[in-house]
Symmetry: C2
Subunit: 190 residues, 2 copies
């Protein structure tokens, strides 16, 4: 394999070139936002793009490093900020590192054992997601949240666990400020 | 292990907080710059700081991701730009990814089998160092070259191979422009 390069454009977060571009619209996240009525109202008016991921794929081996950008667009479903689906890694004992390049928000994290954390993103902020921690990026600002990420090539994604039970904590706007609150649907009630 | 965060400051490249700060002065790179007389003259006038590395250490396991910043200061030894020592990984089948945040320069790469490459760094540029490729960062500009990097926690560093034989290619200023030339000392002649 030869060395290769790409360019991360600011403030859009586009990666040129890239081998994969994932787009996630609101309809793909049914049950993840707590305000179900606000979710359905938004869908009736269209199906907004919530986030995008640009990635340079590498061989699926432990010593390789998948890397790219995620771009979470600004918006809210009710009082809850736009966010990524969130995932564990399919190979759970693999970490991920994120570097915030533009925008502001949070990384919300939790373990299967019930620990949770919320780390703030502002430009320059680097957040380390240790092995075994599920993680979701949340845009709490008015502009795109642009993150560079890298993770082991063999890590893979487990989205289903979060789709089925959600995260314990949600990031909502309360009195004009981002606030961590409990998820009333946690455990699969949605 | 809990999630943790740090902040990468631009344009200095400082990482706050960090668990490790490596400083490399010119005297630690005897034999690596081709113009031996220019090297000795520079040393007589002091021992300039060539580059620094700020790192957040993580457990030395394959699924973890060591990460931090390297800051190569501007300067030349004769016509040859300031650069890092360069290294293979001690666990050779491990990759590394670099993201240029400020400054300009090159990543010079080579394999034990004789392949080589030079990838340009400008702000936004991401360079992928595949497994088995030695790599060295070179500052070809007038300001600090600031790079964010991530590599597997178990990779380690093999500096000795490069100390003993050098890189096949050097980055020099020729007619005012950065130029790749052969290393006359390659293989251990220095």
């Amino acid at each position: 394999m030869k060395p290769f390069a790409s360019t991360l454009l600011i403030p859009t977060g586009q990666l040129q070139p890239h081998s994969q571009h994932v787009t996630r619209r609101l309809s793909s996240m049914r049950g993840q936002y707590a305000d179900l009525a606000a979710f359905e109202r938004m869908l009736e008016q269209g199906d907004p793009l919530v986030y995008e991921v640009f990635e340079n794929q590498v061989p699926s081996r432990p010593g390789e490093l998948a890397h790219g950008t995620s771009v979470v667009h600004p918006g809210r479903v009710g009082d809850e900020y736009f966010m990524t689906k969130g995932h564990f890694h399919a190979v759970p004992d693999t970490a991920e590192v994120y570097h915030c390049l533009s925008g502001q928000g949070f990384m919300v994290l939790e373990t299967a054992e019930g620990e949770w954390a919320a780390e703030e993103f502002v430009p320059g902020r680097i957040v380390y997601v240790p092995p075994f921690w599920a993680h979701r990026s949340v845009n709490a600002g008015d502009t795109d949240l642009v993150l560079f990420f890298a993770y082991p090539g063999n890590a893979g994604h487990d989205y289903r666990t979060i789709e089925e039970r959600g995260f314990r904590k949600r990031l909502v706007e309360k009195n004009g400020a981002p606030t961590v609150v409990d998820n009333p649907h946690w455990g699969g009630g949605a």
